[in-house]
């Protein structure tokens, strides 16, 4: 039991003093709000104004709708919690009331929600109707070609935001340019950011090198806030600085961060996060990335911690902000546990299900491995399909991805050459196109992004220069897409809450695509086209696909001889095969061809001195009846039944149809040796000797999951070949 991967995770004894507590620390204040005669806040959450820290102070001055506050603060916690899950209470009413609630008040209300109620809350409260998702695109060597190829791949899979960062800070401008170009190859309207230190990130935003910003961190205690080298005032200014350049931004926070920094003041993670979210609203940020983020594993280590991560996201939504809902840094070594953490959010639907799905290999994720990584994309797509929900992703076919990667690499190569940033060799380019990750690109030179970045900064290369370079080197479509992202800044519509662009460059936001969920039958439903994308995972097979797979194995080794008659040789055993054998079914589920399986059966009979005769039973697909019919045609009275898919049994002519002598039921596991043994045993039955029963092969694999779709198709094919009026036919087998 200790070997299970979940036991690699750390679990902490709840310790309020150290902030290792999800909800309800004894040191959490009771909600309160007292207004002075001049209408200003003189007490908030049991703290008088002269004792406000910088977070209290900013929230008290800017974060509360004081016209609503008396009503909102007087509302019982349970009443608000019940309104959250009541479909009859609209989102707008909940957001209105939350605007008048102090951090402790909103935390008290939302802490009452049970997990499924949090899901209801998320479905109803998120700002944007259409869910979406964000990718991390980074690599260990800041390889611009690989970044571009991977950004194009991410866009092809449906990510509408791509976040990059650097292992080497000075590489940031090159990374931003490469990812922007790659994303533009993949799709119009993909937002791009490069997560670095606040001032450099702002500088890149101003230069147009990125189209949104997210690394604007808020913390729930003054100590940690100041250690993060900011104050609420500097963050408020920074928020406006981005907007002043038409650049979208959101802030980052998350439960457990303060405990991780050793300065939680004994408060619960959820209360401290309530302060962060309240402050996010106060400084005028349109959105928040939270749900633990880098400290998700800290929250996950305490009782109820995973619930608190989701409750944090709901709190953002209740404050009317865009929610980028974590599922970012890997919070468990256990696949079961990380699925458990993410699934409720995927089902509920979020503005961004992941605030960083690592669309690259785990080892290349310079944020650290994500909760979900490129290795998991198929799992994620199948979960979407299973539940019929929109997690923002879609299947991209291998040829389409290969074409995009090639084009992305060529586009970056051309632009870097045109702007004098770098010359990439053919080896490097070819490796980057084919690479799963940076380990597959030995040709990458670590100095190249550094030199390119220095030139970008020193010569003030802007995104307009990149547009011109794309256009002049023959990448007109991509040039147009990058230019459209610059022009989007002029319009400013994507500064509004929860804005993304769809592939037609339409802004989807709280303003243009508001969430209108109000109970069953309302709210977001994927369009038929989008549902088609969700449903069409690349692994799905139709009956026609499976029929074609069978046709590959068609051979001339089975031929019809004559109508079958009853035999008289006491050493004869008839092998009855199902109606589609020799017509449309040629391959058994174990991978042996039907002819090979028959060859083994016949050889086994011969070992016992018996003769085999192969007869196709045409009027039933039931294996018991096929075996019984074979037995009745057999001179010895012993028959073998073999379905095209490989299931087989031994029958005797005097038994009822559903009784049989031996059954080999697990078709995928019946190998040549077992067919041989089946033949031997049938021969012994014919001679009246004692057979050695076969040990049925069992395995711990999900045999049914693997084969049942094929079984359904094969049974359908058998049914199609079945003719109740047709008698049995003797077949010739060429071995």
């Amino acid at each position: 039991m200790d070997a299970q991967r979940v036991n690699l995770d750390g679990f902490a004894v709840q310790d309020a003093g150290a902030g290792l507590i999800a909800f309800g620390s004894p040191a959490d204040p009771a909600p309160s709000l007292v207004l002075g005669v001049d209408g200003s806040v003189v007490e908030m959450d049991c703290r008088p104004a002269d004792g406000f820290d910088i977070i209290d102070e900013f929230i008290a001055r800017h974060g509360l709708d004081l016209a609503v506050a008396p009503e909102a603060m007087a509302l019982p916690d349970l009443a608000y919690a019940q309104m959250v899950v009541d479909p009859a209470v609209p989102r707008s009413e909940l957001v209105r009331l939350a605007a008048g609630m102090t951090p402790a008040k909103l935390a008290s209300c939302l802490a009452l929600l049970r997990p499924v109620e949090l899901g209801m809350a998320m479905t109803k409260l998120r700002a944007r109707r259409t869910p979406s998702n964000q990718a991390h695109v980074t690599n260990r060597s800041d390889d611009p070609l690989l970044l571009a190829a991977d950004a194009a791949t991410a866009a092809a899979f449906g990510f509408r935001e791509v976040e990059t960062t650097v292992p080497v800070l000075a590489d940031a401008p090159s990374n931003a340019v490469a990812v922007s170009i790659g994303a533009a190859v993949g799709s119009p309207g993909v937002l791009v950011q490069c997560s670095v230190e606040e001032a450099l990130e702002l500088e890149m935003g101003m230069r147009g090198l990125v189209s949104y910003a997210e690394t604007v961190s808020l913390y729930g205690t003054e100590q940690v806030f100041v250690d993060g080298d900011d104050t609420p005032w500097s963050k408020a200014f920074l928020t406006s600085a981005y907007a002043s350049r038409g650049v979208k931004m959101r802030v980052t926070s998350g439960g457990g961060a303060e405990a991780l920094m050793g300065a939680a003041e004994g408060r619960s993670m959820f209360y401290l996060e309530a302060r962060c979210v309240s402050l996010a609203r106060a400084i005028g940020s349109q959105g928040v990335q939270n749900g633990g983020i880098d400290s998700a594993a800290v929250a996950g280590s305490v009782p109820g911690g995973v619930r608190s991560l989701m409750a944090e996201n709901v709190m953002v939504m209740a404050r009317g902000l865009e929610a980028c809902t974590g599922n970012d840094a890997l919070m468990s070594e256990s696949d079961v546990r990380r699925t458990s953490r993410t699934l409720p959010i995927l089902l509920a639907g979020s503005d961004y299900v992941c605030s960083g799905f690592g669309s690259i290999q785990r080892y290349d994720n310079m944020f650290g491995p994500s909760q979900w990584n490129s290795e998991d994309i198929d799992d994620f797509l199948v979960m979407q399909r299973d539940w019929g929900v929109d997690g923002g992703l879609r299947t991209a076919t291998e040829p389409a991805v290969a074409a995009l990667r090639t084009r992305a690499v060529e586009a970056v190569r051309s632009v870097y050459r045109h702007l004098g940033l770098a010359d990439f060799g053919d080896d490097w380019a070819e490796q980057a196109v084919d690479a799963a990750g940076s380990k597959d690109v030995p040709a990458a030179d670590l100095m190249t992004p550094l030199v390119a970045s220095r030139i970008i900064r020193e010569t003030a290369v802007s995104m307009l220069d990149v547009v011109a370079a794309l256009y002049e080197t023959g990448f007109e479509t991509e040039a147009g897409r990058v230019l459209d992202m610059l022009k989007a800044r002029v319009a400013g519509d994507y500064l509004q809450t929860a804005a993304i662009f769809d592939e037609s460059m339409r802004v989807l936001s709280l303003v243009t695509d508001p969430n209108d969920y109000a109970g069953p039958g309302t709210g977001y439903t994927p369009t038929a086209a989008r549902q088609g994308e969700i449903d069409a995972v690349r692994q799905q097979k139709s009956s026609d696909d499976l029929r074609a797979e069978q046709a590959v194995h068609r051979s001339g080794q089975l031929g019809v001889l004559r109508p079958a008659v009853v035999g008289s040789d006491p050493r004869e055993v008839v092998i009855g095969v199902s109606p589609a054998v020799g017509r449309d079914i040629w391959l058994t589920l174990s991978g042996l061809t039907v002819v090979e399986a028959l060859g083994e059966l016949l050889a086994g009979l011969e070992e016992e001195g018996c003769t085999g005769r192969v007869v196709r039973v045409n009027d039933t697909i039931d294996l018991g009846l096929i075996g019984l019919q074979a037995a009745r045609l057999s001179g010895s009275g012993i028959g073998i039944g073999l379905q095209g898919k490989g299931t087989s049994l031994i029958h005797r002519r005097d038994l009822p149809p559903l009784a049989n002598l031996e059954l080999y039921s697990v078709a995928p596991s019946i190998d040549a040796g077992l067919y041989r043994l089946l033949g031997v045993n049938a021969g012994r039955h014919a001679k009246g000797a004692t057979p050695t029963p076969a040990r049925n092969p069992y395995s711990d694999e999900a045999i049914e999951a693997r084969y049942h779709t094929k079984v359904v198709a094969l049974v359908g094919i058998e049914r199609g070949c079945c003719d109740p009026a047709a008698g049995p036919q003797e077949l010739a087998v060429q071995r």
Binding site: R96, V226, T231, A236, F237, G284, Q496
Partner: protein
């Protein structure tokens, strides 16, 4: 968005910003910068959608839209913990006020008081 025709900070119509114009060097950064009037418009939209703080942010941004990148970066730096004295923050507030950036000036003035009380001025 309803009733607002966005033009670049330079006053240029985005329809004129074509690929050919970019290639010919006929487009400047100011042509693809947001105009303060557009930020004012977005502030109205945010207010209509029940987010007064987002509206206030856009109004502060409208005041900053005319400042150079260097000035904006320097002002941000000045507001970070223990970077400025009270007099320096007040000086920034005065200059912002004089440039018509009254909301940002108010932010700086607030910071002076709070930073003083919480020990966040340059020592």
């Amino acid at each position: 968005m309803s009733g607002h025709k966005a033009v670049g900070a330079s006053g240029r119509d985005p329809a004129e910003i074509t690929l050919d114009a970019v290639r010919d060097g006929d487009v400047e950064i100011a042509d693809v910068r947001i105009h303060p009037a557009t930020l004012e418009h977005q502030a109205r939209v945010a207010a209509e959608h029940a987010n007064g703080q987002l509206a206030e942010n856009f109004r502060r941004a409208a005041e900053l839209a005319g400042l150079s990148d260097e000035d904006v970066l320097a002002l941000y730096e000045a507001l970070r913990p223990r970077r400025s004295s009270a007099a320096e923050l007040s000086g920034h507030a005065d200059r912002l006020e004089a440039a018509g950036a009254t909301r940002n000036a108010a932010l700086f003035r607030e910071a002076v008081v709070v930073y003083q009380r919480r020990g966040l001025l340059r020592g």
